[in-house]
């Protein structure tokens, strides 16, 4: 296969569970060696898309090729070239870390010594050597997720599916997982990653698609999406409440938009680029106004959603439609 043909190519994927349309005509393309971030709330169809592309589910309609093979016609060929790390760490808790990885090596046809060597290599690469002989149920959430990632890499996949790889992890473990993903991509692995965190897609993904109720509602790079949503938020809070009026005035002067003010005296307004930060800071400091907070932050998933779809996420009420 040539390196410039996409490793994942899906057209019109549709799948319903009863009356719920989990996927409704999804198109996806992942060029070789890149990371596609699939962003969306619970129930948007992200997990279903991953399960179809990793041959666990058959779509009702549509076609998909992964690593050069059709997921419906050649599922075994696809399985030889993919790794899957699910939303819930699917390691065997009763087995040790080493046993988990050795088992997968054996299942992939490696002779026992080679399977053990591969397991040891991966455990070392994921800083799990010390825990290698402990049963996985004693692992922390972050360790378990790293073992799960290692398990999906035993067969050296060309394409890696990561379904919400950091959901439920503490910030440090999350950063560790991000580092692992970056290393894999540097080695040439292509990745499809689903996430509920815009920050995660921003950190890792070359391209982002936004899912809503089984459809792709937006597609682009992180910057393109930010521009489309225009939803970076500038927040300014003066140390002295008496300066609030001046702050509001300066912000309006710089951004041309009327800021909102919350109960804590924080003024915020949507901005298109972080360059306004310097201008606002300069103007306020020449007027001698001390600040206790000044930031431009990325829009939250909710804000992106509101901007792209015109409605809020429904993550509170709707569970992912997959058991």
């Amino acid at each position: 296969m040539t390196s410039d043909s996409p490793v994942i190519e899906a057209h019109g994927l549709s799948l319903s569970y009863g009356s719920t349309r989990a996927l409704d005509g999804v198109d996806l393309t992942v060029p070789a060696g890149t990371v596609l971030g699939v962003l969306g709330p619970n129930g948007a169809g992200k997990t279903t898309a991953v399960r179809v592309l990793s041959t666990l589910l058959r779509p009702d309609a549509g076609t998909a090729r992964v690593a050069g093979f059709d997921v419906l016609a050649d599922p075994q060929q696809v399985r030889r070239r993919i790794g899957l790390t699910g939303q819930y760490a699917s390691v065997d808790e009763d087995l040790t870390g080493s046993q988990n990885l050795t088992m997968i090596g054996r299942l992939l046809g490696l002779p026992r010594p080679a399977a053990r060597a591969r397991a040891a290599e991966l455990l070392a690469g994921f800083s799990l050597t010390d825990a290698a002989e402990r049963s996985a149920k004693t692992y922390s959430g972050g360790m378990r997720r790293r073992l799960d990632l290692a398990a999906s890499l035993v067969g050296r996949p060309k394409v890696l599916f990561l379904d919400e790889p950091t959901t439920g992890l503490d910030p440090r473990s999350r950063t560790e997982v991000w580092d692992v993903v970056r290393r894999l991509v540097a080695d040439g692995t292509s990745v499809l990653l689903t996430t509920q965190y815009l920050e995660e897609a921003d950190e890792l993904a070359d391209d982002i698609v936004v899912f809503d109720t089984g459809r792709v509602v937006a597609h682009g790079t992180s910057d393109e999406l930010k521009h489309r949503t225009g939803a970076q938020t500038l927040t300014v809070r003066p140390r002295d409440r008496a300066d609030t009026a001046t702050v509001l005035q300066v912000i309006e002067q710089v951004t041309g938009a009327v800021p909102t003010l919350d109960g804590h005296g924080t003024a915020s307004v949507a901005v298109r680029s972080e360059t306004v930060l310097g201008t606002v800071l300069d103007l306020l400091s020449t007027q001698g106004i001390a600040l206790s907070e000044l930031a431009v932050r990325l829009p939250s998933l909710d804000e992106v959603f509101l901007a792209l779809t015109g409605h809020a996420t429904q993550s509170e009420n709707e569970k992912e439609a997959v058991a």
């Binding site: 399960r51 990793s54 041959t55 666990l56 589910l57 075994q76 060929q77 399985r79 030889r80 070239r81 993919i82 790794g83 899957l84 699910g86 819930y88 760490a89 699917s90 390691v91 065997d92 808790e93 009763d94 087995l95 046993q99 088992m103 997968i104 054996r106 299942l107 992939l108 046809g109 490696l110 002779p111 010594p113 080679a114 060597a117 591969r118 290599e121 049963s135 398990a151 999906s152 035993v154 067969g155 050296r156 060309k158 894999l184 080695d187 040439g188 692995t189 997959v322 058991a323």
Partner: protein
């Protein structure tokens, strides 16, 4: 290092080094997984270790005097029955275990690997042999202490164990199917008991069919469990073997023909 570890990350794993019977090797690897799980938590063998003892004590000492007049005579009659009965109850565990594996997402991993579709199920069935052997070992050791002796020699006794385990492995596929079809592990247990209770108690495990009312005797004589028990009884204590053995083989084949495809279909459909 092997060729596989020397290849760069991008390359496809060297599946060509797979042994001649990949499906068998995959099944054995997954059976090994289940056996390792038992080693990590030996309490998983508690049911098959205690059940034969409890059943023996219960039936021999509570009912033995009333049924046979003398508990010692009844013990001799009862051991083949308890042996098969214990295996019948032990087969249900596989459905619960499979249901748990699916709930935990472990099977998603297996299904995303380039392995035979049947391997995880065959592996689970093979691993249950450890549970069956434990149950039989405990039963024969305990009843030997009480004075039970086989009369047909070791080879016949070994064949009896083989027949009982072989039937149990075929029966396991019923529970594999139930475990994959029913939503929760608790429900698996419920459905399992509904199926095994009439079959085990409506057999010649505890009493001869001659003592039963006509309609029940008819059921009992045609109950597959009766054929297995009669075979085991013949091989351990003497008596006709050929006919019940033929029936046992027939029932075992029928179970496989019906429930292996059903289980495989349920496995493919189960999300």
């Amino acid at each position: 290092m092997t060729a596989a570890t020397a290849t760069p990350t991008m390359s496809v794993p060297e599946i060509s080094t797979t042994p001649k019977l990949p499906a068998l090797q995959q099944s054995l690897t997954l059976a090994w997984r289940n056996v390792v799980k038992i080693r990590h938590q030996p309490e998983a063998l508690m049911d098959v270790s205690l059940q034969p003892i409890i059943f023996t004590v219960l039936f021999v000492f509570v009912f033995g005097g009333a049924i046979a007049g003398d508990w010692h005579d009844y013990l001799t009659y009862l051991v083949p029955g308890i042996l098969v009965q214990t295996l019948m109850f032990a087969t249900g565990g596989i459905g619960v275990a499979l249901n748990n594996d699916i709930a935990k997402g472990v099977f998603d991993r297996f299904r995303s690997l380039p392995i035979a579709r049947s391997a995880p199920l065959v592996g689970a069935v093979l691993a249950d042999v450890v549970r069956f052997l434990t149950a039989i070992g405990v039963l024969l050791a305990f009843t030997a202490l009480l004075g039970f002796r086989t009369t047909q020699g070791l080879p016949a006794a070994a064949l009896a164990v083989l027949v009982a385990i072989g039937f149990a492995m075929c029966l396991s596929w019923v529970f594999v199917w139930i475990g994959l079809t029913v939503r929760s592990a608790g429900a698996v247990q419920g459905v399992g008991f509904l199926a095994t209770f009439p079959l085990t108690f409506g057999s010649t495990a505890l009493v001869s069919a001659d003592t039963l009312p006509g309609w029940l005797a008819a059921f009992t004589r045609n109950n597959p469990v009766t054929h297995v028990i009669d075979t085991v009884r013949g091989l351990l204590l003497g008596g006709p073997v050929a006919e019940p053995l033929a029936w046992t083989a027939g029932w075992s084949a029928l179970l496989l023909v019906v429930f292996v495809p059903l289980a495989m279909r349920a496995y493919r459909r189960r999300v």
